[in-house]
């Protein structure tokens, strides 16, 4: 692993529930997460697996009817389970920053982007009123926006999707965050723009020396970006590994199936051969009982899968929640 720095965030048994009219739903169910400075951790999973809820829970942004509990939650030396909300607000945006899929909703539509950046600079006490505007332009240039002077005077809707995402990255990085959480920041963008945004994001993260928790459903991005990968299925971590281990020796049948179902751009089409697919659909979180949540779709399911599978360590840093590896 590249510079395995200090642990900046450590959460144990994170549980986020939502009270819905049809019952209590456990969107995130007992997640353990440890993030180190300088590392990129990708959180992968299909839609509804609890990726966004995890990110929002870590940011302290879950509102009722949602409810977050955690056995242990340390961030940058603070015990967040006991921290008052006012302190949390100070950390948020400054020491932890979040970037969302849709930059348009993260920006104020009726204010010029330069002014929005300048305001954040002032809030964080990083620039005086006089200086803020100049610094905002500088920042826009820094995140690769051409003609920053002019662009600072634009409204968000006048920018392209990629430019908007550059602006939100600039805003996120203002407080020199120790942790950046990016929730599918490139899903709405075209591939060529996506590459640029990924480059910018990792460049910023490296220069700040912060940890990056990158949420995505795209296993291609994971392969390019991640140091470590956490695979979520129906609210639970089913596998966690260094990126090399995950792609070379995936352990969980779900991970195996997922990797197999990504069509390979570089392999020729095999006519008459079906694409690898995982049968069935993700379970309804309101209906999951005990036992492995993947067992209905699993080709290696067994009687014992009706009981809660244990988290098993295959090798250092490679953990799998599956009965296949029990008693080895």
């Amino acid at each position: 692993m590249r510079n395995a720095g200090d642990v900046v965030l450590s959460a144990r048994r994170l549980v986020t529930t939502f009270d819905t009219p049809s019952g209590r739903l456990r969107a995130v169910d007992g997640l353990d997460l440890h993030l180190r400075l300088g590392e990129v951790v990708c959180l992968v999973g299909e839609s509804g697996s609890g990726k966004s809820v995890t990110g929002l829970s870590l940011m302290g942004l879950i509102d009722p009817p949602g409810h977050v509990t955690c056995d242990e939650f340390w961030f940058d030396g603070h015990d967040l389970t006991t921290l008052p909300e006012s302190e949390m607000e100070r950390l948020r945006g400054r020491r932890i920053a979040m970037i969302f899929q849709e930059p348009l909703s993260a920006l104020n539509p009726s204010r010029r982007v330069g002014d929005q950046i300048a305001e954040v600079l002032r809030i964080h006490g990083l620039a005086s009123r006089a200086e803020a505007t100049r610094r905002a332009v500088e920042l826009l240039g820094r995140v690769g926006i051409d003609d920053a002077q002019l662009r600072a005077r634009s409204y968000p809707h006048q920018l392209s999707g990629g430019q908007r995402q550059r602006v939100t990255i600039a805003i996120a990085c203002i407080g020199s965050p120790r942790l950046i959480i990016a929730d599918e920041p490139t899903t709405a963008l075209d591939v060529t723009v996506q590459t640029q945004i990924l480059d910018l994001l990792t460049e910023m993260q490296t220069s700040l020396g912060s940890a990056l928790l990158f949420i995505t459903h795209d296993l291609g991005i994971v392969a390019e970006l991640a140091d470590r990968v956490v695979v979520l299925y129906a609210g639970q971590v089913v596998e966690e590994a260094a990126v090399e281990d995950l792609y070379r020796t995936p352990g969980h049948p779900y991970t195996v199936g997922l990797l197999a179902s990504v069509p390979d751009v570089d392999a020729p089409r095999k006519r008459g051969v079906a694409l690898a697919a995982i049968p069935g659909t993700v379970p309804n979180l309101l209906e999951v009982g005990t036992g492995c949540r993947f067992r209905e779709r699993c080709d290696r399911a067994h009687d014992r899968c009706g009981a809660e599978p244990p988290m098993i360590t295959l090798s250092e840093g490679h953990r799998v929640r599956c009965w296949l590896y029990a008693g080895r």
Binding site: R2, S176, V191, S207, G220, A223, P263, D264, V282
Partner: protein, 265 residues
């Protein structure tokens, strides 16, 4: 088979495409490049300001009355958004039976039987016919949309980003279904997609679109292994590969070398 190009399109900015009977032409390009517009012109859901569309040798844009009716039976469209492509107020049985009902092709009982057959064919249960769209997941809705398109036994299907909103594991199921049905019925496809990985595994021919123009076209393997145009190369290069390979290590090197850039605040 007809033995000649099934259809030729020339849109306003000089786009020319043709789909051979029983084959799949993939239309690839970034958002806003005009793929959907072209698809809608081909389906005669939009009228181009100039150009011609031929289907089975007949001029589509000039068709009216019975000829247009026949075109509507033989050409179907499947859309991207499984949530807006089904009418929330009608049962899926009604939705699937719409085609035959509109064209007055068969009595009610026959339509009901057909709906049940089609539901089974696309991997759903016959008793799903009485349910409403909101009771189904995105993947299941896309199956319903496919059943709906098949009800009129079309010859040609335009699939506009039909699997783009689906999760990987579900996407493969739906692609397999489309490919099986194509083989069974000898269908032709216009497959509109921005996902090059998917395109490589379903297409026979590929047309790359940029800003309303086709910049390159050819057989699928040639486009992917020996692209001529810079734009095609850039697109192919930008696709993130789900394998640990050269680019990953490049990335690490690139990122480490960037750590010298100064912090921004």
């Amino acid at each position: 088979m007809l033995g000649r190009p099934l259809k030729v399109v020339r849109a306003v900015d000089g786009v020319d495409i043709s789909v051979r009977p029983g084959s799949t032409l993939a239309l690839v390009g970034e958002s806003g490049s005009g793929k959907s517009t072209l698809g809608r012109c081909v389906a005669r859901l939009d009228t181009p300001t100039g150009g011609t569309v031929h289907f089975s040798g007949k001029d589509v844009l000039a068709a009216h009355g019975a000829a247009l009716g026949q075109f509507r039976r033989e050409v179907q469209t499947i859309f991207q958004d499984p949530f807006s492509s089904l009418n929330p107020r009608r049962t899926i049985g009604d939705a699937i039976g719409d085609g035959p009902t509109i064209h007055g092709l068969m009595p009610k009982d026959a339509i009901r039987d057909l709906v049940q057959q089609l539901l089974t064919r696309v991997g759903l249960r016959p008793d799903h016919a009485d349910r409403y769209p909101h009771e189904f997941s995105g993947g299941q809705r896309q199956r319903i949309a496919i059943a709906r398109a098949l009800a009129l036994a079309p010859k040609f299907i335009i699939a506009d980003e039909a699997v783009s909103s689906l999760d990987v594991s579900i996407r493969a199921q739906i692609l397999n279904l489309l490919l099986d049905i194509q083989a069974e019925r000898g269908l032709s496809f216009l497959f509109i997609s921005h996902d090059l990985g998917v395109v490589r595994h379903v297409a026979d021919d590929v047309a790359i679109m940029q800003a309303g123009k086709i910049v390159e076209r050819g057989p699928v393997d040639q486009i992917f292994t020996d692209p001529r145009e810079a734009y095609t190369k850039a697109l192919l290069h930008a696709v993130p590969r789900a394998t640990l390979g050269r680019r990953h290590r490049d990335g690490v090197v690139a990122r480490t070398s960037m750590s010298t850039t100064r912090p921004i605040s």
